[in-house]
Amino acid sequence: MKKIGKQTIEFEHSVNILGSFSIVGPKEGKGNFSEYFDKILDDDLFGQKSYEKAERKMFLTAVLGALKSCNLKTSDIDVLLGGDLMNQIISSNFTARELQSPFLGIFGACSTMVESLIVGASLIDGNCFKNVACFTGSHFSTAEKQFRYPLELGTQRPPTSQWTVTGAGCTILSSVNSDIKIKQATIGKVVDWNVSDLNNMGGAMAPAALETLYTFFEDTKTTPNDYDLILTGDLGKLGSEILRDLMEFRGYKLGTNYGDCGQMIFNKNQKVFQGGSGCGCVASVLNSYVIKRLKQKKAKNAVIVATGALMSTLSSQQGDSIPCIAQLVLLETKNV
């Protein structure tokens, strides 16, 4: 492992994506990636008594599914890395309780998936760990309850709003060789351009995505054209348009290889305004669409930039603006 440029890491040992699993709710299952998801729920309560319990059951299903996809057992996991949006990351903590594997809880809001991949890849590159399970997710109903209004309250969503994805994903990283590898990662800084509109997360997070993506291109001396797929996590339609503007202003024009998981996950008829958001957005898309594209050799590399808004309802009520972060990993397939 070595540092290149200002904020980028290059993994020198082989860090492989061995297994993956994605699980989503019924609404996401009717979206654009339905054919890619491993499991689509019929009922977003998942047979549980509360949405919080359903969220952790999704996490557990994702981890067990990912292990099964590469024929590993729970006891093969050296460390679990997970986080979520709930206070005190309860969904991840309760999942780790069930799995009884060593666990590091992490929090990066909606950037958690990529943050866990960066930590996991570093642990494997350090030659200490063999298999690391990285998981995260979100649930529309738990996020609404914690951050917004009761589900049945008759309010209107503003046109800039996004829809929290009900979904979870798990990636198994390993030192054992496979077709897809994590080559590089850029650790983001907390960026705050003084946006405080909680209904415009894309606008708040776009500068964080800009700083991380720009630093990655500068550090690696590459351009957007060197990559088959550049995906941001959950900027949504508006946020990704803003990112295009900001990147162009800094001298990097994003082409048709750029997309946003939040914008892509739902289709136009699903009334979600700017698109999806939440930890589950990038987690479910990465562990389905992206990994399958790479496996099928339809893309030889993919840059994933997961963005997270790091405020709480308390900080917002006290008038603070929204601090944001973006974490980046570069995935590559072996000899295409």
């Binding site: 049945e152 309250l153 351009w193 946006v195």
Partner: protein, 147 residues
Amino acid sequence: MNIKERDKKYNDYLEAKIPKTKPWPTLFHAFWIGGLICLIGEIFKDLFLLIPNMTEENAGIFESVSIIVLASILTGFGLYDKIGAYAGAGSIVPISGFSNSITSPAIEFKREGLIFGLCAKMFIIAGPVIVSGLVASIVVGLIYFVF
């Protein structure tokens, strides 16, 4: 460019960039649904007036109670949020909106228990309205008392 200038420039850019709510369709939705709720209220009132010895004042009270109960039932069946998403203020301003604002957190937080969940959280939306109402009535009461 210093940080303050950058933030201001970015927020100005955002302001110009964000999609705005279209006022005319929104107003129309609010107008006809709001009007419909009031019409239903008037129908209830006229029906109550058919009851022998019913006064105008009592019929009005029964009307409000009926709308409150109806909105609460619609909330329970998961329909009022759909009406609200379409009508906006049209379904928030009438008393049915107040009913919805109390029933919806009651449903949401019933899993946290009867006392600390349902009862404690029931007024998280309607609470400020009740507080303002109480404060206003105290002020009016004092004015009435003094003059």
